[in-house]
Symmetry: C2
Subunit: 207 residues, 2 copies
DNA sequence: GTTTGTGAATAGTTTCACAGCA
DNA sequence: TGCTGTGAAACTATTCACAAAC
């Protein structure tokens, strides 16, 4: 079923499947059924098959999926088959943790630049990246950086967003607790850590 | 429309509305319309009204919503009207950033205990919290701690989850890139930072 | 005139069940 | 026999449009 609009929810799940396939591949597992993959990732097997069906035939009936083929396909669909250079803004506690974060690598992300407005942080090395002043953000264009991570306090978020957009960034991962306005061509994904914790008590039985 | 099952998506959005109401309240704004709130938060006004309608009448036609009433109502619905004590497991880069994170406070969360398996970290103070050995996790019950945050590498995630569940925790915020198995009574919310970044390139126009 | 609250219409997503292939 | 791929059905959520309330 190749000629369909891809549901957003399917796109959201593809990185999960990729993570599972990479995990299995690292362990030397060559093939996997939708059922096995589902068990590993905590989703349903028919959901996996349905999601894959939007893109064509990934697997072999009676056998399952080849892990390396799966990785190749999902990487291509998600545009992850080239290394993506990322700029980080905000070298505070969260920003430093993100610079040291080992999880970006498997998807081909590399944080190649870091910025902060605090003069005391500027010039210092942080996980191998030298922190630059925020006014140097405009140089991003010349370095092939198309994505930015915002790890600044809420009050600064819109200003930093504008600077990133002006610097040519087309995708933003926003860790600040604010809605930020961008032109339609720019995609923002917001992770509001406290907000996710905030809905947890709703699900706890009385207490 | 009081006698309806609440959509999960509505529950997911309630903390957003709460954040907006708190923001306005701090600025001394007493009343707000669904339209104004929507503009502030980047959602639709009818979505807000629809979401609120599941819980009863929050506002006044022709006038709007009273910010402090809104805060009170949402806090009660989300079970946020008491302080929640939280245990953090994993005092590495991410764990330390979470201990120092200022955003939990507005929702009434307090990280009162931290644990790590690394003997070099145990005993040290980290943002005012003394890191304890992981084997001391079982004391949680006696301290009224009902929620846990997992900030450990993937390989350790299931073990830590089991320990938290055994210690009586009923809600878990999981930052590890793994699906973890829990009894049905326990709710897990997973934030996989790299995964969220991983779907960003999909939305970037060719390049 | 303004804004809420909500039934009804639309859109989107998940689940099922099974034909077809290895 | 075992597993994929997918239409169709069931379910869930979003959007609209407007009556009722202030």
């Amino acid at each position: 079923m190749r000629y369909h609009k891809i549901p957003d929810e399917t796109v959201r799940r593809l990185p999960i499947y990729l993570r599972g396939a990479l995990h299995l591949s690292q362990q030397g597992v060559k093939g996997v059924s939708s059922q096995k993959l589902a068990g590993l990732l905590g989703v349903n097997s028919w959901q996996i098959r349905k999601d894959f069906s939007y893109f064509g035939d990934f697997g072999t009936p009676g056998v399952g999926y080849d892990t390396s083929t799966l990785i190749k396909h999902i990487n291509r669909i998600l545009n992850l088959d080239t290394v993506h250079k990322v700029a980080l803004v905000g070298a505070g506690n969260l920003g430093s943790a993100l610079l040291a974060f080992p999880g970006f690598e498997i998807y081909g992300f590399e944080i190649v630049a870091a910025f902060d407005s605090d003069k005391r942080k500027v010039g210092k090395k942080n996980s191998g990246v030298t922190v630059k002043d925020i006014s140097d953000l405009c140089v991003l264009k010349d370095h092939g950086i198309s994505m930015g991570i915002i790890a600044v306090p809420g009050d600064a978020a819109q200003d930093i967003t504008d600077r990133l957009v002006n610097a040519g960034v087309r995708g933003i991962l926003n860790f600040s607790p604010r809605y930020v306005v961008v032109p339609k061509r720019v995609k923002v994904i917001t992770i509001d850590i406290a907000m996710d914790l905030a809905r947890l008590p709703y699900y706890l039985p009385a207490g």
